[in-house]
């Protein structure tokens, strides 16, 4: 068993976890931050993506014990408060960039990191950045549109 202290969306949590506890399960079922979704548990689909010390990672491929002393952002921490959406979320809504919404939290976290690094992307760059997140509903076109719109709004 391991003592872990982890900061998630600005709040500090202290828990005791088994060595094998996945970070995705820890976030969802111990911290009850169920916005992070699990799609494949083998690191392909990207639904469980969270931002770990500023880097987008797959939380199904990490252990909770590895998060000790680190800072994580999940989809619940993206917007400034519960009454507002982040510009990325707004653009996804405005462009109909989600259908069932299950892959959406992972896509938001991946693209948050990408747009932080690449504030003026073209479509090819967006598609490349998005290619590690599988969406079975949208065919990606409206997600790409949303990211172009979000990038534009974030720049101005």
């Amino acid at each position: 068993m391991h003592e872990v202290t982890v900061t998630v969306n600005g709040a500090q949590h202290r828990r005791t976890v088994e060595s094998r506890m996945l970070l995705s399960d820890f976030l969802r079922h111990d911290l009850l931050l169920a916005g992070t979704h699990v799609g494949c548990e083998h690191g392909v689909c990207g639904a469980c993506t969270v931002i770990f010390d500023g880097v987008a990672v797959r939380s199904c491929l990490m252990l909770a014990a590895q998060a000790d002393g680190h800072a994580i952002m999940t989809v619940e921490g993206l917007a400034a408060d519960r009454d507002h959406l982040h510009p990325l979320q707004e653009a996804m809504r405005d462009c109909h960039g989600l259908q069932c919404g299950y892959c959406t939290p992972g896509i938001l976290m991946t693209m948050k990191c990408f747009l932080d690094e690449t504030p003026a992307p073209d479509e090819a760059q967006i598609r490349e950045a998005l290619s590690g997140n599988l969406c079975r509903c949208t065919g990606y076109q409206h997600i790409v549109d949303a990211m172009m719109l979000a990038a534009e709004r974030l720049r101005s």
Binding site: A34, H42, A79, Q99, L134, T138, G139
Partner: protein
């Protein structure tokens, strides 16, 4: 009405919750004292079960119980037949349905043998390794043609030749057509579909509240009402004691309409037995075996034509892989048989299929539901005929279209909804013309392709047509109610897996009741909110439930006007409803809010007139006489690398006619997603089974779902031919995008690589770089 919401590209009511991580999916349900289940599954496709020893597993710390089929007693029964065979004369149908836990025999890899309940999923999975299983493997039935040869193994001992069904449907007399034919095209076609692979796998949570005598189930189902009814019957409860909630569901695409999966039968039973909530969530490996899929058909088809390319008739004989059991009846192969006819006049048709049991996972509808297979056959036959007769590919299609003045058009065979395959309305030439214009077909063939070829680039064009029977019965219902806070509540029995019902149904109700679309709260998939219904399948949600919402909202509108007329002591004709209030036209200040009227409609004291119904509420039902037929044309320009056979889609065009449009934004999303799945099916996804029935690529690293790099940008346009079968004039659109992509890819790749000159034909789906290499380098 001030604003009309119907037809407007309104953003979705449900998105804020989904985008902020606040929407409830099944695995988000956390209950005190909840147990977690894991299933032990067969690792071979076909075997006799000699013994299952669970003693060691039961003693592992943290394990609460382990059950096998023997423990289920009288609760162990095969599942019901969900869809009986349609009334077609002379058919054979052998019903063999799945069981809760395998007893005596296993019939496909992944069939469950035992269930472990433990304090955590981690411990439950540990205990699976403690279970000792002795299986005597049997030869696996994998190949369809060999399966029919009754000297080999049988999936079900009492079913000779592994024949699940045999169906022949005819129109006219094909022999006559053949005798008059000036040209015949006959080929063998293989079409394999795949795994629907929603990003959310299946899952179920069951909670028995012994004090309330109430069972609550959260399930990733597309059919909550029938799940409730069936489970109540199995568990000896009345329907009112069972509440099924299909909360937000992370994609379905068909396999979540399958009912009474083994886990859905076992988990509620163990929850009641232990008086504790129990959760089971399917993992991705399980999804490849334990969730139904769609697979292959082998068609031997022949088309008889006149010299100028008129279709005289078609004869088709095909084998259909139904997997180890056939709980969904004949829906998939009947769809193949019917949809093969497409938008064309086929005066003589002779189609026979044999559905075959195999030692593979169960086949039930997956987006398109067998329609792809049929469309592939006729579209490829037309391509081949065009080439052999020297006719343009687009023109041979135009020449054979059902004329616009021929509707309703009866194909004289029986469809999946048990009624005649009659197209309600359609107008196909404008769709083709629009698609040809958008892809610039003539210019590409005359100028661009020769220029690009001269530069050594392998570019080709494809064009494919299809129809889709949508919006079938039996019925759906809706309850519309004005709340005291002025908001409008809409409840319907179907479930939602991303189709935008929280918005499209709100648009329909908002227009009738005169409120803002944001003030309409839609509830789907909760049997305590709406009691009746069939489910979300066959591109029918918007058509059938949407019209029920409209009918209920119309009655509520009448109730609002009647009550307001009493309130103002005026005629109903002098009133208008807008912005959540009723006003007397031309009398400023004479206005009452809908919420105030709702309160007035439910008086606390005093007397009401006999026959008065409280509230501003109505429940109405809608059932169409038959399905509404949507149609479309896809066109594509593709470039293929002749060394690697990787391809790049340079342009993709969809022109689609699904009747009147509720929300063009949502509709575009449905089409984009359908095309993406069609592309996966055509070129990337392939379920590879070995001769022992083992799936060799059961992971998302090996079963390739298309990413943002494989799915191209699409240009979409619509034509509108309203359906006369429902008051809103709509036709379904959920599956359309996925249907014609296979033949489109085959045609465009043949064109790009100039395969006709090499006498190479692409008669199978899926294709892939590897497969193209094999087909183009085979010894000839």
């Amino acid at each position: 009405m001030t604003t009309r919401n119907f037809g407007a590209p309104i953003t979705r009511n449900e998105d804020a919750r989904l985008l902020s991580g606040q929407a409830l999916f099944v695995d988000d349900v956390e209950l005190p004292g909840m147990l977690h289940a894991a299933f032990l599954r067969s690792n071979v496709a076909h075997a006799r079960i000699r013994s299952i020893d669970v003693a060691a597993a039961r003693t592992r710390p943290g394990v609460v119980a382990v059950y096998t089929a023997a423990d289920l007693g009288a609760y162990w029964v095969p599942g019901p037949l969900l869809v009986p065979p349609p009334p077609i004369a002379g058919i054979t149908f052998n019903q063999r349905t799945q069981v809760p836990l395998a007893k005596d025999k296993v019939r496909h890899v992944g069939e469950p043998l035992a269930v472990v309940l433990a304090d955590s999923r981690y411990v439950a999975e540990d205990a699976l390794a403690d279970i000792g299983v002795e299986l005597d493997p049997l030869p696996a039935v994998v190949d369809l043609e060999k399966a029919l040869n009754d000297t080999g193994a049988r999936v079900h001992e009492d079913v000779r030749g592994n024949i699940a069904a045999h169906v022949r449907q005819c129109r006219g007399n094909y022999a006559t057509a053949r005798s008059r034919a000036e040209h015949l095209v006959a080929r063998r076609f293989l079409y394999d579909h795949g795994a629907s692979s929603p990003i959310e796998t299946r899952g179920i949570v069951a909670n028995w509240d012994g004090r309330a005598n109430q069972l609550t189930i959260w399930d990733t189902t597309q059919a909550p009402v029938f799940l409730r009814n069936g489970l109540a019957g199995m568990l000896g409860l009345s329907e009112r004691q069972v509440r099924v909630i299909a909360p937000f569901v992370g994609g379905g695409f068909g396999p979540k309409i399958m009912l009474f999966y083994p886990e859905e039968v076992v988990i509620p039973w163990v929850a009641m037995k232990h008086n504790r909530p129990v959760k089971w969530i399917e993992d991705r490996l399980e999804h490849f075996f334990a969730t139904t899929q769609e697979r292959g058909q082998t068609h031997d088809a022949e088309m008889a034509l006149s010299r100028d390319g008129q279709i005289l008739g078609i004869k088709d004989t095909f084998l259909h892989d139904t997997g180890a059991y056939n709980p969904y009846g004949l829906t998939v192969p009947i769809n193949s048989q019917c949809t093969l006819l497409g938008p064309y006049v086929v005066p003589h048709y002779d189609s026979t299929f044999t559905a075959v049991f195999t030692n593979k996972p169960i086949v039930t509808p997956y987006r398109g539901a067998g329609r792809q297979h049929g469309v592939f056959v006729i579209e490829r036959l037309l391509d081949l005929a065009a080439r052999e007769l020297g006719i343009d590919r687009a023109e041979i299609r135009r020449k054979n279209f059902i004329p616009a003045d021929a509707f309703p058009y009866n194909n004289e065979i029986i469809y999946q909804d048990f009624t005649a395959l009659e197209y309600d309305s359609g107008n196909y030439e404008p769709i083709l013309d629009k698609a040809l214009g958008m892809i610039d077909y003539r210019k590409f063939l005359a100028e661009e392709q020769p220029q690009l070829r001269a530069q050594g680039r392998n570019v080709g064009i494809g064009i494919a047509c299809y129809v889709e029977g949508t919006g079938i019965g039996p019925y759906e219902g809706a309850k519309v109610q004005v709340q005291a806070n002025g908001k409008v509540s809409v409840a319907t029995g179907i479930g939602t897996q991303g189709q935008g019902h929280f918005t499209s149904f709100a648009q329909i109700a908002a227009d009738q009741v005169g409120v803002d679309v944001r003030d309409v709260d839609v509830v789907t998939g909760d049997t305590d909110q709406f009691y009746w219904g069939a489910g979300t399948f066959a591109s029918r949600g918007a058509v059938v439930a949407g019209n029920a919402v409209n009918e209920a909202a119309k009655v509520v509108r009448q109730k609002i006007l009647r009550l307001a007329a009493e309130h103002f002591e005026c005629a109903e004709e002098d009133l208008e409803i807008a912005d959540g209030a009723v006003s007397v036209v031309g009398v400023p200040g004479q206005s009452v809010k809908l919420g105030a009227l709702a309160l007035k409609a439910n008086p606390m004291r005093g007397a009401v007139r006999p026959g008065t119904e409280p509230g501003l509420e109505s429940t109405q039902y809608f059932g169409p006489p038959r399905g509404a037929t949507a149609s479309g044309v896809h066109a594509m320009i593709v470039e293929v690398d002749s060394q690697t056979f990787m391809l790049k889609v340079l342009k993709y065009v969809v022109v689609h006619d699904c009747g009147t449009i509720i929300n063009p934004l949502i509709l575009a999303g449905q089409i984009h997603g359908g095309v993406a799945q069609g592309i996966g099916n055509a070129f990337y996804e392939h379920l590879v089974f070995d001769d022992q029935g083992q799936l060799l690529n059961a992971s998302l690293a090996d079963y390739l779902l298309p990413s943002a790099l494989e799915v191209p940008r699409m240009d979409i346009a619509h034509t509108v031919t309203a359906s006369p079968l429902n008051p809103l004039g709509i036709k379904g659109a959920g599956e359309a995008g996925a249907i014609p992509v296979g033949p489109l890819f085959a045609q465009a790749i043949e064109d790009a690589l100039g395969l006709a000159d090499q006498k190479i034909e692409l008669l199978e789906i899926p294709l892939s770089p590897n497969r193209l290499f094999e087909l183009t380098t085979k010894p000839r």
